[in-house]
């Protein structure tokens, strides 16, 4: 289970970082979202992975660590708000700058290849 979990976190993070490095705002926003999914899963695992442990103290002999759950909840809420903000900002940038590149201008190389096609 640990290996599978670690694999998932790794793949989410790697995809997030890859998309974050793209030139257009939409992949960047998706990349940020994936990165925050990866982070949330990672934070969740810092309390160690346990199966069928009690969530409440006193309800069983083993109980899971409640703090990472609280941290993840906070991180999810903040991440959600930030994603909403960056989506609106990306749309605003598309309107203001006339294209959806993060630098606000279409790189010339891309233009060339489009012309060739």
């Amino acid at each position: 289970m640990e290996a599978l979990y670690a694999f998932c976190v790794g793949v989410l993070t790697a995809s997030g970082v890859f998309l974050l490095l793209r030139g257009r705002t939409f992949p960047v926003v998706v990349g940020l979202t994936l990165l925050s999914y990866g982070v949330n899963l990672f934070l969740f695992a810092t309390g160690r992975l346990n199966v069928s442990d009690a969530a409440v103290l006193g309800a069983g002999s083993n109980h899971s660590d409640p703090l990472p759950q609280a941290l993840v909840l906070t991180a999810i809420v903040i991440g959600f708000a930030m994603t909403a903000f960056v989506v609106i900002l990306a749309m605003r940038a598309r309107g203001d700058l006339g294209n959806d590149h993060v630098d606000g201008r279409v790189p010339e190389i891309v233009l060339d290849s489009e012309e060739r096609n």
């Binding site: 903000f85 900002l89 630098d103 606000g104």
Partner: protein, 507 residues
């Protein structure tokens, strides 16, 4: 009186919320006056807290009365109250500047300013790393709004970069917190400092990775070398009052570096002590260099000041990297000075740009200013202070920092870069000043006079270096005590975790 600590956060929070409600939100004037009253109260609270902390007691406020490692605590020690005071003074001056004419402030400007102050104050006061993350997010989301205020192409572009970079930074911050919690089992700064001393050697590399990831995040906030490219564009694009308040934002990063890498990974951390120094030293020095190049290449006054901020950040980081008490004290003195003077210069640049008409703050010959002599004199004082020439505080700060370098290796790297960057600033500011005030192509088309309230804000900020150098004796004494308290890791652990250790003993 112990509730003063939380009051420094509640005041901007509730004040900002109240400003959105009917009796106050109906007119901008009412909002501004209310904000000014809030800001004056914040100065009073910070002054009281600073005065309490100067007696050497570390004030600890347990939120919800949950004791230290289990609950979140706010810590009011010498350093955090000092930064609180600096924020309050800066916020007051930025606020005064919004009293001028032709301001692009909508009805959400003042509340956002208060939320920004809430985030900054919280980041300075908190004694918990996850709470620090939360306050970082509060100050960031407020700063996104403030940066974009007024709209326009340059602001949107600068804002997009700033937001995306900081969101990626937040993700790294969370990874680092996860690693630290997973290995050390706590996120309270004092508790981390204690646990890291008894760390299993097998887990040391993980903690080291977590710690250095924190350095990346704080480096992004502080504008450390590979992460500083967002700063000139963002600061030059924002409205003047916002740019002045943003002068404290890089210092939030520097404060966090100072706190985490002195207390948690400080002298007592065993194999993990001083893990940041080896990175901070070269990166700080390179930041000075790249900042100086940026200063030389700047085409307009505000970008020039933004690049001067990068130079000052580099200087501070390099001196902090020495990780000694006297170096920290010198860095703190220079931090006060550089924050206040760069904020003052941003406001002054806007006054100059308004009087120059179409050319704005671009460094090209223009038609002359309505109040050439007055603004010229202010620019001269500001330039002297920011370059670090006697008799103002920049000189004292730089001299203290240079003398903090003790070994030949340290001197041979720090001295040429700090002095060289001062020379570059001297040359560039002389050139800028002569272009702005002497190289005139005619009389101004219309005489624009500076608004007296805005002028007052600039004068207060520019008078600070003078005050800091007149009272250099007491202030450096204060900084030495602050640095000493910061480096006394056991003392901090003792005062923050005190109630709990007693409980454990009873067991």
């Amino acid at each position: 009186m112990q509730h003063l600590i939380i009051l420094s956060l509640i005041l901007p929070l509730l004040g900002g919320l109240l400003m959105l409600l009917p009796p106050i939100n109906v007119s901008r004037v009412r909002q501004r006056n209310f904000a000014l009253a809030l800001s004056a109260a914040a100065i009073l609270i910070s002054a009281l807290l600073l005065q309490q902390a100067q007696q050497g007691v570390i004030g600890v406020y347990a939120l919800g009365d949950w004791a230290a490692p289990f609950g979140i605590v706010l810590v009011a020690d010498r350093l955090s109250t000092l930064m609180l005071m600096l924020t309050s003074v800066l916020a007051f001056c930025s606020l005064l500047y919004t009293f001028g004419p032709r301001n692009e402030d909508g009805s959400f400007f003042q509340p956002l300013l208060q939320f920004q102050i809430l985030g900054i104050n919280g980041a300075f006061m908190t004694g918990d790393l996850f709470n620090l993350f939360v306050f970082f997010e509060i100050l960031l989301i407020a700063s996104y709004g403030l940066l974009m205020f007024g709209g326009g192409k340059t602001r949107t572009r600068a804002g997009l970069h700033y937001v995306i970079l900081n969101l990626a930074g937040s993700a790294i911050f969370l990874f680092a917190l996860g690693i630290l919690y997973g290995t050390l089992g706590t996120l309270n700064i004092a508790d981390l400092a204690q646990k890291v001393q008894h760390l299993d050697p097998g887990e040391a590399p993980l903690v080291r990775a977590g710690g250095l990831m924190l350095l990346i995040v704080f480096g992004l906030k502080a504008a450390m070398l590979p992460l500083q490219f967002w700063l000139p564009a963002a600061y030059a694009a924002s409205t003047p009052a916002v740019a002045a308040l943003f002068a404290i934002m890089t210092k939030v990063g520097i404060y966090a570096i100072l706190r985490v890498f002195t207390v948690i990974f400080g002298d007592a951390a065993g194999p993990l002590s001083h893990i940041a120094g080896a990175w901070l030293w070269p990166l700080g020095l390179m930041t000075i260099l790249i900042g100086a190049i940026g200063v030389l290449a700047s085409q307009d006054l505000r970008r020039l000041i933004a690049n001067l901020i990068i130079v000052s950040v580099g200087t501070l980081l390099a001196v902090i990297a020495l990780e000694r008490e006297n170096a920290t004290a010198a860095a703190l003195y220079y931090l006060l000075h550089s924050t206040l003077i760069s904020a003052g210069l941003f406001l002054l640049a806007d006054l100059i740009a308004r009087q120059r008409g179409k050319v704005g703050d671009r460094l090209v010959p223009g038609r002359g200013l309505g109040q050439n002599r007055l603004l010229g004199a202010l620019f001269f004082i500001g330039a002297i202070a920011v370059i670090g020439m006697p008799p103002l505080a920049g000189f004292v700060g730089k001299a203290l920092m240079l003398s903090a370098a003790s070994s030949v290796a340290e001197m041979s790297w720090l001295w040429p870069l700090v002095l060289g960057s001062s020379l570059v600033a001297l040359i560039t500011l002389s050139r800028a000043g002569s272009t702005l005030f002497w190289n005139l192509s005619g009389k101004p088309a219309e005489i624009v006079r500076a608004n007296p309230v805005q002028l007052l804000a600039v004068v207060i900020l520019l008078a600070m270096p003078l005050l800091l150098s007149v009272f250099a004796g007491p202030v450096t004494g204060m900084m030495a005590a602050t640095a000493q308290q910061l480096h006394d890791v056991q003392g901090q652990i003792g005062s923050v975790l005190q109630p709990v250790t007693q409980m454990v003993e009873v067991k």
